[in-house]
Symmetry: C2
Subunit: 430 residues, 2 copies
């Protein structure tokens, strides 16, 4: 089915002659000689199954190993993936628009990647570790002027771009400038949200990432065995049966995985810098969503339960498990649109895959198209529904002020608390 | 000179046949019948001078009037300009890629404009007026879930885009998706920075906007009368003489304008919501940069002054005036690159102007290309070098917490102040 639709498209008339697929390395099933010889006997279709399966498990184990190595290793992994995704998309632009002779194009793209990472990553690190950074004079300079330094770096790139413009390439240069910036918008901003999710606690990375993987696999399985009704023209392989089966499995899987991870503080505690021990800490008083809570049945269901003579009226559950259902639903209903978008993009530019780095899968971007959208959802969900105004963090902001300003805040706050009768002052504190 | 280089370019071979200029309304000198008949006798070159001059002054008066109407009128003006700029750039995309039959393209572009404004404008309003918004239950809901609502709206647009994809238009649709997003990145994010500048005090809008206008006019004047040495190929009319003369004039003008505006609190006070009188307030204790300060000569100059027998060793000046010099230098050295970028863009797509709304000037975007870059610079400059951690603002953050958390912060802060010997507690405060 995939094959036919591909050939049909080839006949399409496009404004430009796109032959990117001939130049761009495309996904293959080629692996190491060892595996290749072991699989020689299989027919190509099953060969793809096996290769794809092996590398799926390999990636899952690699991910588990990085999680085991700790949050900083994870942040590093996010960076490596981000750089590779950027490389894949920029290479496509480079080939599609035949930009081999554009002056400075590659250098500028990488420079903009560096600049925007410097900015976003700096903002995250400053937000989470300001107190730590403030101890060192050299770093304090970077914290204070971080935005100015980032902006100056960006402006230098912008001026270099304007200076690199040459008459006969104007159109290509502006197209690729736009291409680079849309890529940065998609990859860098969203990677930075992933990093922030990691800082808030490993569970905010583990659960969503696993949900997308589970949904991908289960939708594929259900589609393979039961698929009949096509879902969307963009991805002819996708079926309604796969979509629904995937969603159902992801909800169940999400609940189970959440229960499992909730057993360790390691996964639920945000990463903070402990000033007393002078090191990163992953211990905490658990956030209420990670503590078992009692829920009562809604009144409407209550009547039904009485009728059926079911004695239970209350149940105990981790609130996070209930949240995991919203997340699973997003992962399986909206998540696939990230994939459809990527499919449409690949078709628009007549390529089959973003690259060929993972045998059986294609490029890194082929596997991460939905992950980025999911990470943004998790970030927004977390900041909207989960994050509490953290007294400790507000205190940190105050402690960065000059002593006289700290006192000023203290006095204002005391006044306000007294005015509202939250405290009584029996004697002066100063 | 302009004319020749334009024709030369026409011969350039481009991958697509771009004839946007034939379809897109281009800048003309056509005005009202009244002015047209009054200027009938002039030759075209001088006619352009007069029309351009009239409308320059008209815009300056309009701007002054809006400033007189107050900050909310200014914010409204920023919005109107933003929408018109977006419209101009999107129309160019629409024509260049001959996208007349793309399903939903215009609707989706405007929807994304609305969504991103909802997000950014909401973020600004929440940052500055959270206490006011928190009083009303309905608005409180919007404040709490603002990011989630914005994200859901964006995702709805994203899903609609994916669903609107049709095979024969894939390439155009993705190109225009990118086009829309780059436009949003340039126009919406920077407009939102302008709005934030206005909230910090009118002077942060007035001075930079006037500097760009002054630099434009003076560079044109110096270029017209003394210009000999071409500056950059992109804008053949620009000369080194105009560039240097413009920079020099802008520095002088910036100093004078700053001195003038510093006489009124109206220009230097941030816009705050006064909870006691229940209305917007533009009164304040002036920020130190707006108060006259004493500066001593650096020691190296000191020796020179002794030699020359100049008795002055100290001088009194508003620190803002010194800052205005940095801003003037940015406005006249880097600012023009915003214009070069816009010139390059217009040439890439073979158009003379972004539109024809202002007689003698072209489109709105033709006049605002440098203003946006300048506004971002001012925002970064303000946050890096001027903004003080405002005890009042930190207090607001604390007062939005639940009473028990307010008390918790209070106790933590008290403890820290006691530990550091900033206060002595003579008796318990609770």
């Amino acid at each position: 089915m995939m094959k036919e639709s591909r050939e049909e498209e080839e006949a399409e008339v496009l404004p430009q002659d796109l032959s990117a697929a001939e130049v761009l390395p495309q996904g293959t099933d080629k692996t190491t000689d060892f595996i290749d010889s072991a699989l020689k006997g299989l027919n190509p279709r099953w060969r793809n199954w096996v290769v794809r399966g092996i590398f799926t498990w390999l990636m899952i184990f690699l991910f588990a190993f990085v999680v085991y190595c700790g949050p900083l290793a994870l942040v590093l992994l996010v960076f490596v993936i981000q750089i590779k995704c950027f490389h894949e998309i920029i290479t496509i632009g480079y080939i599609v628009y035949k930009s081999y002779d554009l002056p400075w194009f590659r250098t500028l793209s990488w420079y903009f990647l560096f600049t925007s990472n410097f900015f976003f990553f700096g903002e995250s690190v400053i937000e989470y570790f300001a107190v730590l950074l403030h101890r060192n004079n050299f770093l304090r300079f970077f914290v204070t002027y971080h935005r100015f330094i980032s902006f100056s770096m960006y402006v230098a790139g912008f001026v270099a771009f304007v200076c690199s413009l040459v008459k006969k390439h104007y159109l290509k240069q502006f197209t690729l400038f736009g291409w680079t910036h849309v890529t940065l918008l998609i990859i860098v901003t969203q990677s930075h949200l992933i990093v922030q999710n990691v800082f808030e606690g490993l569970i905010w990375l583990m659960v969503p990432v696993s949900m997308i993987i589970c949904n991908d696999i289960m939708a594929y399985m259900f589609g393979f065995f039961f698929g009949k009704t096509p879902l969307i023209k963009l991805s002819p392989k996708k079926t309604w049966e796969g979509f629904i089966g995937g969603a159902f499995s992801t909800v169940i899987f999400g609940i189970m995985l959440s229960y499992l991870l909730l057993q360790w503080d390691y996964f639920v505690c945000p990463i903070t810098f402990d000033t007393s021990s002078n090191r990163l800490s992953m211990e905490c008083e658990r956030h209420p969503v990670f503590k078992v809570a009692e829920y009562s049945l809604p009144e409407t269901l209550d009547g039904l339960f009485t009728l059926l003579k079911i004695p239970y009226r209350k149940f105990h559950i981790y609130p996070f498990v209930l949240h995991s259902i919203s997340m699973s639903l997003f992962a399986s209903v909206i998540g696939p649109f990230g994939g459809f978008f990527a499919s449409g993009f690949k078709r628009a530019f007549k390529i089959k895959d973003f690259g060929d780095i993972i045998p059986g899968h294609g490029g890194i971007m082929d596997r991460f198209d939905c992950q980025y959208l999911m990470a943004t959802f998790i970030h927004v969900y977390y900041t909207s529904f989960i994050r509490l105004h953290n007294p400790q963090k507000i205190l940190q902001n105050i402690l960065m002020l000059k002593p006289e300003d700290q006192l000023h805040v203290f006095n204002l706050l005391q006044q306000s608390l007294v005015d509202n009768n939250f405290i009584n002052i029996t004697s002066s504190t100063l």
